[in-house]
Amino acid sequence: MNSEKLTALDGPISNWSAEQLLPLLGKILPESCILHEAEDLGPFECDGLSAYKAPPMLVVLPDTKAQVIDLVKLCAQHEIPLVPRGAGTGLSGGAMAVSGGIMVSLTRLNKIKAIEPELRRAVVEPGVRNLAISEAVRPHGLYYAPDPSSQIACSIGGNVAENAGGVHCLKYGLTVNNVQSVECILPDGSLVTIGGPCLDAPGFDLLALIHGSEGMLALVTEIVVNLLPIPPVTRTLLVSYDSVEKAAAAVGQVIGAGIIPAGMEMMDKLAIQAAEDFAHAGYPREAEAILICELDGEKEDVGAAYDQLVEVLEVSGATDIRTAQNAEEQRKFWLGRKSAFPAVGRLAPDYYCMDGTIPKRNLPKVLAGIAALSQQYGLPVANVFHAGDGNLHPLILFDANRVGELEKAEALGGKILELCVTLEGTITGEHGVGREKINQMCLQFNRAEIEQFHATKRAFDPKRIFNPNKNIPTLARCAEFGAMHVHAGEIPFPHLERF
């Protein structure tokens, strides 16, 4: 499918040119905020999903909130598409440029405006890095819980847009569960606060709707995050298994026993060996699967849960259970897991990271399915999971320099997502839909559901100013994509012509 056809499938195309837009921008922004030379635009041609590239026509880097408001008003007035971007670490092409549009990077709005230890809250601008929040509030014994693996670089504004998760979601929730309120600019340029200082705000829960909306409903300019006291005690276990099935079953057994680990990660043999070669974390090379299990909390609570956990793991058929004896060992246990992606990256010239979620009971089935697909497509797949919440990150290994291999990897990835939907799961747990999974949306949702999403977008942005052509496919796209959702025996999109 060529790129023009892709765009035509997604709705009207903007015809603005850089020559037309530059004078308009010049009226509201200093020159230092506008990038338009090809060499300056290069870094903005993709986000963390480098397989999807489109150089932007213009990039705007506002220094102030007032400038962002002026920019949005300008775009609203002239119907110019505006693509918001944070640190650019997203993994689904959500911050990809659209033709005839402007990209706005919010990284210069990067101040921590207030820390309120007694309320356990912090007020931050969208360009503040995720980890910088925890670092800033540490002197107060507090931290910000959601920890996506890109936390050293990713921005909190992007976290809101993607409803970012991390390794501690099962116990501490996603971004949506840890944000108190946001101040944002609506597509008509009005500045509003959504949520408020109380635990509930009057009216509909717009705060939840903004989270994970991939920059399509509002542009966030300030975020009040909720903070938690740092757990005084953490215990980390490295557990080995001689079969993936046993490891997968153990995850359910632990949680079924009433233990909620702070983190519960699983890796298969290919991932273990790659991580060990890379990080020398002391992982058991001979194991078919490992679990990294972490408990945190107060001393007495962790002690009680630890004894119970070890008992469950022994019964589950673990071949080895190691508990980190000190902070250094703890760090090593995690090092292997946290470097799994670059480690696997050394096994092949390229890898493609997927992000499906399934109910935990279906872990053995999905693993068997992925193994079969891997064989069918002739591409190895290493598996790394947030096992506690059923979030899979299969890593497909390929070589983009070989003709057709990227397409093959994408096709295999698509099949894995289909498998997740079949196994009562979802096509994206935490990376978002963006451009990458827009076709698979047609698998998960039927015509009426997709139309309801579009109606939701129209309620905020009838002119499609904010981040158009992302996240929600047009019905025409779903008809073109072909493999569609079959809902209760209905034939999907019967009124649409297939082309």
Partner: protein
């Protein structure tokens, strides 16, 4: 596997389509235990009560999927059998006969949570996905049965607290949590001011606190977690309390404790014949006796929620504004719309109403006069 709800959903969809065609409003109703919220438009009832099944429940997934007409009592009992619970402690308001009332649909639509709310999150934090019928009579599924899901907009949580104004919820998947090993209630003879001060200090560190209320000269503190952890907290702060070990049925549900009474707004404080008001405030807010003279006050949620018995509506209104909070009447004699919204936010509400229920079929005028 989203259950389509079969014949009953078809019947409801037909009723909705009919009302849409004839430009009539329908009043969504389960038990009607929260009928005092908002302004009722007493029209034809769209009842959830025939949708009363547990669709799936696997304790090790920490997820339960149920239909919206299921009684909360039945849901909590089923979870308790598996030593699990809804973390946010939904209230079950009593009928005149003392029977506990409330359905899953009403719990979701009202988004009311009990005394554990500040420490456990609210109803929306436990919503993973749902099935609904929009104003065109279309059956839609959003979200799912998994903890992490960012496919499409988060319609499931949008429906939570929307008072049925955006659609009829037919089924929901909820995150559940293990019940803790043990629980203790500490009573402290302290003024409200002193109690809040103590609470502030305890909460700077991790603690087993999961409830903090105050009335008159007595503060109540609930501690939950392992037996040994509760003991350690009591010892550190030189407090005494009986520690109740939870048996396999999670005995805290409906055991007549102070917390259960507070959750359901029962007990001596609530029996007063004056109207009951709820004031939602930033956490830790102190209402001093001088701020409200002719009123009885019960602090809940560690000062983020106050229950107030008074006839002086005017004084409460101005106090809500002054303290950056919002006010709600918990009394059928005082029908009131929800707290006013800034114009830009109201416009979004109206647009969303148009997107989900263009014919204004559902609960017309219940939250706001505008829709």
């Amino acid at each position: 596997m989203p259950v389509q709800g079969g014949i009953e959903n078809d019947r409801l969809r037909e009723q909705i389509r009919q009302a849409r065609t004839e430009n009539r409003s329908l009043e969504i109703r389960g038990h009607g235990s929260k009928a005092f919220l908002g302004v009722r438009n007493e029209s034809e009832v769209l009842s959830s009560l025939a949708l009363n099944q547990v669709v799936s429940y696997e304790p090790s997934e920490l997820v339960i999927t149920v239909q919206s007409g299921l009684e909360l009592n039945a849901l909590e009992a089923l979870l308790a059998e598996n030593h699990q619970r809804l973390a946010f402690e939904p209230p079950m308001f009593s009928s005149k006969e003392g029977e506990r009332r409330g359905t899953v649909g009403g719990m979701l639509a009202s988004a009311l949570a009990g005394p554990r709310r500040p420490w456990s999150g609210g109803v929306r934090d436990a919503v993973l996905g749902l099935q609904m019928i929009n104003g065109e009579g279309e059956l839609l599924n959003f979200g799912g049965q998994v903890m992490k899901n960012v496919a499409g907009y988060d319609v499931s949580r949008l429906m939570c607290g929307a008072m049925g104004c955006l659609g009829f919820i037919s089924q929901v998947s909820l995150k559940v949590l293990p019940a803790p090993q043990a629980m203790a209630t500490v009573t402290l003879d302290e003024s409200r001011d002193a109690f809040l001060g103590l609470l502030q200090g305890w909460q700077q560190r991790m603690s087993p606190i999961s409830g903090a209320a105050h009335e008159g000269q007595v503060g109540w503190l609930r501690l939950e977690g392992s037996h040994s952890n509760i003991n350690a907290f009591l010892k550190e702060h030189a407090m005494t309390a009986d520690i109740i070990a939870q048996d396999n049925r999670g005995l805290e549900v409906n055991n007549g404790s102070f917390w259960e009474q507070l959750r359901d707004l029962r007990g001596p404080f609530f029996e007063d014949s004056r109207p009951l008001w709820r004031l939602s405030l930033p956490p830790g807010t102190l209402i001093t006796p001088e701020m409200l003279t002719d009123a009885d006050v019960m602090l809940d949620w560690g000062g983020a929620q106050y229950w107030i018995k008074t006839e002086d509506e005017q004084a409460l209104e101005s106090l809500a504004v002054k303290l950056k909070g919002h006010l709600c009447a918990y009394d059928a004699r005082k029908p009131r719309h929800f707290p006013a919204l800034p114009p830009a936010i109201m416009k979004l509400h109206q647009n969303l109403k148009q997107a989900y229920d263009a014919g204004h079929v559902f609960n017309r005028g219940r939250m706001y006069a505008e829709f």
